[in-house]
């Protein structure tokens, strides 16, 4: 396997409160390889978006990285001063947000926003930057890009705006894009197109993607590997096919089981009993143990680390002692 592009090691993100502190991410570790698409799934509040924000250094205060390391190739980036981190953003790591309707500045033209981003990272004059901007818009599938570039965001539809957002994210030729639920705000017919554009662009530009979503369909469609998050921890990580077909962690099994299938008719959708714990009430041991149907004594006492199995890596005591 090639050297990892991004390595996150034991990442802990905390939000200090008046007396206590909330641990929103608890020892999260994973790698993303060059050109790979890694999916991040989990319920709302599991810490998917927060992981993205921590990597690009845009955690909202008072949230901060309390411990752990983030490496981009051989550079450690979790403690960079603001100005160095700024140079890196857009140039090496870019980010796409959920809602294309609010991601673009309403009173600047697409040209303004694209050209400024390009010139921030690449030494191009106005004319060349504009040519590159038009080329990018063309690549993401905006018809008549050279005319539409001088339009304002409100003159585009939601799907078109998300294409513009993708063009903006790719403007500095980043090695990694963190896409934070890029299709959630779009209607279903447009979702597939956007995922397509994202896949194609990243393939052509050899960009790795961390795709945050709670849509298993999108994961199965687009990703190479997938990480399942639960209560600020990674429950399971592995190849998409393995996770979809042979989920190991009881939580992942529940997640997969809750996806309705067209093949069989059911009156009631299956669901995992209970709900995810609040950050100030995470149970000891495995965070999932109160909802788990296969709980053993050890689960309430010790916290499981990621254990390598033959199918992937899973943090569950059921798999302790198995040799890969």
């Amino acid at each position: 396997m090639t050297e990892a592009l991004l390595s996150v090691r034991d990442l802990v993100v905390e939000f200090p409160k008046r007396k206590t502190k909330l641990t929103a991410l608890d020892k999260v570790s994973f790698d993303i390889h060059p050109g790979e698409i890694l999916g991040m799934v989990g319920e709302s509040g599991a810490g998917k978006s927060l992981t993205g924000a921590a990597i690009i250094g845009l955690l909202e205060p008072p949230g901060h990285v309390a411990s752990g390391e983030i490496w981009l190739k051989d550079q450690r980036i979790d403690q960079l001063p603001y100005e160095q981190m700024r140079r890196l953003r857009g140039k090496r790591i870019a980010m796409i947000f959920q809602d294309p309707l609010t991601s673009l500045n309403p009173i600047l033209t697409i040209a303004d926003q694209l050209i400024e981003t390009i010139q921030t990272h690449l030494p191009l004059n106005d004319k060349d930057a504009r040519a590159r901007a038009i080329q990018l818009l063309d690549e993401v599938g905006i018809p008549a890009a050279s005319k539409r570039i001088d339009d304002y965001p409100h003159q585009f539809s939601g799907g078109m705006r998300q294409r513009v957002v993708i063009a903006l994210a790719l403007a500095g030729e980043p090695e990694l894009i963190i896409a934070d639920e890029p299709t959630t705000a779009l209607d279903v017919s447009v979702q597939a197109q956007i995922i397509d554009v994202l896949k194609r662009m990243c393939h052509e530009h050899k960009t790795a993607v961390m795709l945050v979503t709670h849509d298993m369909g999108v994961i199965a469609e687009a990703c190479d590997r997938v990480a399942v998050m639960y209560a600020g921890r990674i429950a399971e990580i592995g190849e998409v096919r393995q996770i979809v077909k042979h989920p190991q962690h009881p939580y992942t099994q529940g997640l997969m089981g809750s996806i309705p299938s067209i093949a069989e008719r059911v009156d009631r959708l299956t669901q995992i009993p209970g709900s995810m714990p609040r950050l100030d009430a995470i149970p000891s041991g495995c965070a999932f143990n109160p909802r788990c149907t296969q709980k053993i004594a050890r689960c309430t006492q010790d916290r499981p680390e990621l254990i390598a199995t033959e199918l992937g890596r899973v943090s569950c005591w059921l798999y302790d002692g198995e040799t890969p």
Binding site: L88, R89, G90, A94, I107, E116, K147, Q155, A169
Partner: protein
Amino acid sequence: MIAMLIRRLIQAALVMLVVAFISFSLFQFVGDPINNMVGQEASQQDRAELRERLGLNDPIPVQFVRFVGNALQGEFGISYRMARPVSEVILERLPATLELALVSGVLAISLGIGLGVYTALRRDGWLSHFIMSSSLIGVSLPTFLIGILLIFVFSVELQWLPSFGRGETVQITENWSTGLLTTSGWKSLILPAITLGLFQLTLLMRLVRAEMLEVLRTDYIKFARARGIKQRSIHFHHALKNTLLPVITIAGLQLGSIIAFAIITETVFQWPGVGLLFINAIRFVDIPFMSAYLLLIALVFVVINLIVDLLYFAVDPRLRVTKRSASR
């Protein structure tokens, strides 16, 4: 664009017509104008003659049309108190009020926006906390008290600045005299301008700060940060314009009230402007002057609102007509 302009102009004309009607009714309802004009010895016949001559026996609509016609030509009748044409008196005093309003308006808008942006960007700095706390004074103290306090400190105790009047003025045209060209003129202007503008300054500042903080939390600012756009450009290129959009309306209205409510400041500082004249007019029930003043202030507000609408149009691309429709 043209259609919008015409629509706005018609609206403005309608507003002015309504105000004109109110002005006009002042004559009808606030006492009998004849009583104010003739002496005590005037006979019943003299009164009837004067009434006929002034057209007060005509039907009300006819009188109103005549009033509007005269107003359009700048004819507001003779001031009861000064026995001179009202328009002449107002024109003579208007420059003083406009100068005062202009200086305090510029002061309020520039400092209001500047300090608002500063306190938003340096939210936790001690200077920001200091500015924010002291701005409460500007918002809560009444204007006349601020004026009197300023006079007490800077004129009575320190004796740096004059406490009343306009100082020396320079006659530019027959009706236009300015205090902006002499040192004593500027010195006299400082205290009244601060007094008049302080409330608007603090109001604008707090508004700009709140708007800016709001804008800095939006997704497009986060996205701009995620693209590595320079801090400076994020603050002043991406955020400031969006911040100022809603501020324009308030700033316009505040500018109007600076002119309209200069009355109090002019009284405190004995500033020889229209406002001071208006206070005296009320005391003497000088109806022609009062109705003309009412119309003038209405005109100021209508014109400022029109300018604000046009500014919006120029600044916010979303209001302009879309040339090409959105497509998926």
